[in-house]
C-alpha cells in the first residue's frame, strides 16, 4: 500500500512539474523587452518636442546669420506641443503596460522562487514536531518527502494557472492596445517626419547662404558638419519615421511580435521562437531608448 502511494506521489509530482512549463526567465525577458517598447512610446512625445525645439533654434540661428531679422537670444523656450499633450493618453497606456509587465515578472519570480518551498518545508517541519513518532518510521518519512514535492508542485502549478489566467485576461487589451499604438506611432512618426523635412529645409537655406558668401574652406566645413548632424538625426528618427525607407515601419513588427509572444506565454506554449523574435525585434526600441538616454532626454 505504502509502495503504491510512493509511486502515485512521484507520478503526480512529475505530471504537475510538466504543467508548470512556463519558464520564469522567459517571462522576465518578456517584461524587460515590453518595458523597452513602452519607453519608446514615452520617448516619442519627447522626440516630437525635441524636433520642434531644434527647428526653432535653427530658425533663430538662421535669422541671426542673415542679419536684420528679429531673433531671440537666449533662444525661445522649449514648449510642450499640443501633440505631446494629446500623446499623454498613449503614455498612460504605455505606463500601464510597464506596470503590468513588472507585476508579471514579479509573480513569475515569486512562483519559481524559494517562497513556496519554504512554506511547504515549514508545514512538514510543523507536522514532524506535532507528531514526531509518526515521522520516525522510514517509510513515513519517504512518503512525507514525496508529499512535500507534490505540495510544492501543486501550489506552483495553481499559481502558474492563475498567472496564465491573468495573462489571458490581459491579452485582448494588449492586442487592441498594440494595434492602436501602431497606428498612433504612425501619426506621431508622420508629424516628426514633417518636422525633419522642415529642419532639412532650414539647413539647406543656411548652406545656400554659406555657398554664396563663404570661402571654400567654410563651405567645405559647413557641408561636412551639416551632413554629420543630418546622419545623427536620421538615425534617431529612423524607428518612427520613413526617413530610411522600408516596406513596413519597424514598430509595427515589434508590436505584433510582442502580442504574439504574450499570447504564447499566456497559453504556456513551448514556442521559444515567438519570444525570441519579439526579444530580437524589441532591441530596436532599446536602441532608441539608449539614444535618448545618451542625449539626456529621459
Amino acid at each position: 500500500m505504502l509502495k503504491r502511494l510512493r509511486v502515485l506521489a512521484l507520478l503526480a509530482a512529475t505530471a504537475l512539474a510538466g504543467c508548470a512549463s512556463v519558464d520564469a526567465t522567459d517571462i522576465q525577458k518578456f517584461g524587460v523587452a515590453t518595458a523597452a517598447v513602452a519607453q519608446a512610446a514615452r520617448d516619442a512625445g519627447t522626440l516630437n518636442d525635441d524636433m520642434t525645439y531644434t527647428i526653432r533654434l535653427e530658425d533663430h540661428a538662421g535669422r541671426f546669420a542673415r542679419g536684420g531679422l528679429r531673433y531671440a537670444f537666449p533662444p525661445p523656450h522649449r514648449d510642450r506641443s499640443r501633440i505631446s499633450t494629446a500623446w499623454d493618453v498613449q503614455v498612460a497606456y504605455a505606463n500601464a503596460l510597464v506596470a503590468y509587465a513588472d507585476a508579471l515578472t514579479k509573480a513569475a519570480a515569486g512562483v519559481s522562487g524559494t517562497d513556496i518551498g519554504t512554506a511547504v518545508d515549514n508545514l512538514k517541519s510543523a507536522a514532524a514536531k506535532a507528531a514526531p513518532t509518526a515521522f520516525a518510521h522510514p517509510v513515513s518519512s519517504q512518503v512525507a518527502n514525496a508529499s512535500v514535492i507534490i505540495a510544492k508542485q501543486a501550489i506552483s502549478w495553481a499559481a502558474w494557472q492563475q498567472i496564465r489566467a491573468a495573462m489571458q485576461r490581459a491579452q485582448p487589451a494588449i492586442v487592441q492596445g498594440n494595434a492602436l499604438l501602431a497606428t498612433d506611432f504612425g501619426k506621431m512618426g508622420h508629424a516628426i517626419d514633417e518636422r525633419y523635412k522642415d529642419w532639412l529645409m532650414m539647413k539647406q537655406r543656411v548652406l545656400d547662404s554659406i555657398r554664396a558668401n563663404g570661402s571654400a574652406r567654410e563651405r567645405y566645413d559647413a557641408y561636412r558638419a551639416f551632413a554629420s548632424e543630418q546622419q545623427t538625426l536620421a538615425k534617431s528618427l529612423a524607428l518612427l519615421t520613413s526617413v530610411q525607407g522600408g516596406d513596413e515601419p519597424g514598430y509595427v513588427a515589434v508590436l505584433n511580435k510582442m502580442a504574439a509572444a504574450h499570447k504564447a506565454l499566456a497559453e504556456g506554449q513551448q514556442d521559444a521562437s515567438t519570444l525570441a523574435e519579439f526579444l530580437a525585434a524589441a532591441q530596436q526600441f532599446q536602441a532608441l531608448a539608449q539614444i535618448f538616454a545618451a542625449n539626456g532626454d529621459t
Binding site: 509573480a107 517541519s125 492563475q162 508622420h190
Partner: protein, 105 residues
Amino acid sequence: MTTNQDAYDRIRAGKVAANLGYSQAQTVSDANRFLDLYYVYDDELDKLVADELMKSSGQYKVLTQSLKGAKKDLEDIIDNIQKIVQTTEAALKIATIFSKIIAII
C-alpha cells in the same frame, strides 16, 4: 497615407512656399512675414496631429484600466504566496511550542 493626407499636403505646400518666400524676400519685413507664415502652418500641423491622436483616447482609457486590472490580479497572486508563507511560519511556531509543552509534560 493618412486619413488627412490632403491636409498634410496643404501644410507641406504652405511651408515650402513660406521657405521659398523667405529665401527670395528682398526686404526684412517680407522675410519676417514669411517666417511668421511658416509658424502658422506649423501650428496647424500641431493641431491636426493632436486632433488625430485624441480620436482614440477613449479606447486607450478602457485598455489602460484593463491592464491595471490584470496587474492587480498578478499582485494578488504574489500576496497569496506571501500569505501561504506567513501561515506556514505561524503553524511551525505553534507546533514548536506544542512539542516543547508535550516534552515538559
